[in-house]
Point group: D2
Chain length 146, copies 4
């Protein structure tokens, strides 16, 4: 996959750094390349739902946002990415001290981008896949907001 913006890494950094809710959550950048991105979330008790697992909404947030970053590695400097829809399957209770999310673009369309995200929970030495998402995104000119 070919990035249209050579400076895509700083674009991804901006999407992670400038999104208030993502900073609030504590999600950090791990790495990215053309068509993919990885993020990390050090789990805190504030991320839990009522049964002491990481809330599905936290997993959905990082799956969606990391997919947006993966898509952003491919768009032009004059475009922005918005989520059209996402679907998240919770596969196992997310228990552990660190979540890692990897997102990959499955279909780099000009106006519609489809990406997938895998959310892994690390507990001690073991990392388990706890959620999988499919994310459909729109690439829009910055000058034509939705």
């Amino acid at each position: 996959m070919q990035p249209r913006n050579p400076d895509y890494r700083s674009r991804v950094a901006a999407i992670l750094g400038n999104a208030n809710f993502i900073r609030e959550l504590g999600l950090t950048f791990r790495d990215c390349g053309p068509g993919w991105c990885e993020t990390l979330l050090p789990v805190e008790q504030r991320h839990w739902q009522q049964d002491a697992y990481v809330h599905a909404g936290v997993q959905g947030t990082i799956a969606d946002h990391t997919a947006g970053c993966a898509a952003a590695t491919l768009i032009g400097a004059d475009e922005l990415i918005l989520t059209i829809e996402f679907k998240l399957n919770l596969l196992r209770p997310a228990v552990g001290e660190l979540l890692r999310c990897r997102a990959e673009v499955l279909r780099p369309g000009r106006s519609v981008v489809v990406a997938e995200s895998w959310v892994y929970a690390r507990q001690g030495e073991t990392e388990k896949l706890c959620a999988k998402a499919t994310v459909t995104l729109a690439a829009l000119p910055k000058s034509a907001p939705p």
Copy 2:
């Protein structure tokens, strides 16, 4: 729809009050009845994504959690609710000072419950539908965690 737990309202209150991430987010209870629930989120800047709209992850979180509350109005006192999967369509940028989420159970199965959630954004006097979710949930005995 018939609640199996006559004290379902306090169960819903507990699910909202005991989920750390939900308290952290600021989601509050509005009302519920057999098979439905409504919640409110006073929007703060910390809920935004990079373009000053409420983050899709925030909308996904409240759509999922309110659906879980709607499902919880129908389950037995010895059961708990876990999300199997959810799918969220973002329909409009969520702009405004208050989100309202209404969730309704579409299919009250014994072990699998399907619910729908509508997320509305209020700006001044106008309330607009900004997201719609379908949520598939499992009703499990508390004694047999996943």
Copy 3:
């Protein structure tokens, strides 16, 4: 919702009549209006899966196609509709002699249209909701195929 093509009914009829797989299936037009469409499928044994229920794929097909017709009531005469993605929840085994599908546009965007479909199975005097779909569609100029 405002149709941009005053002759939208014949457009919908064409989408139903010109799609080979839809004719093959036996799906027929019931009615439509701006932003909605209804279709009927007289159930035959050839529509069954291995347990004598109507196959999920049949339900998915009519949910998707009827949603496309609902979206087609709103687009211009020079545009066509393609499905980006759809999600179908099977709520009850589909048993009976007639399926009715109603699709409604939830969000009539210029380039992205979101619709919902309800699939009902009629057995004798009773009609039950057996599936619910959310369908995301693209409205594209006929001159710029995907």
Copy 4:
């Protein structure tokens, strides 16, 4: 992944052979193993939608059914598989003379199985991914139908 039914191959053959709509469609078995299955569909004009691509409903049907076969490689001889929900992203117009579908179980739960399906279209020497599905299935005792 461990099959609980040593005779899983004949079970998968039965699911493909006994489903009327699947025979009608023309879907054939290619191969399977523990947790996966592949099927083939020789494309005919009757599978088309109105723009001469394979209908999304055909792709959804084979994605769903092949996922059911993949799940069936893992269940007990006294269980059956029903689809709870599926979500299909159409990535490219499906053009060509043969569709191949590969399904893999992502999470082999006892009662809920999550699988993924990839639909490829072959045209001449080239095979392209044209759709991707996530399928959530229930494994139920044959004695307790839904």
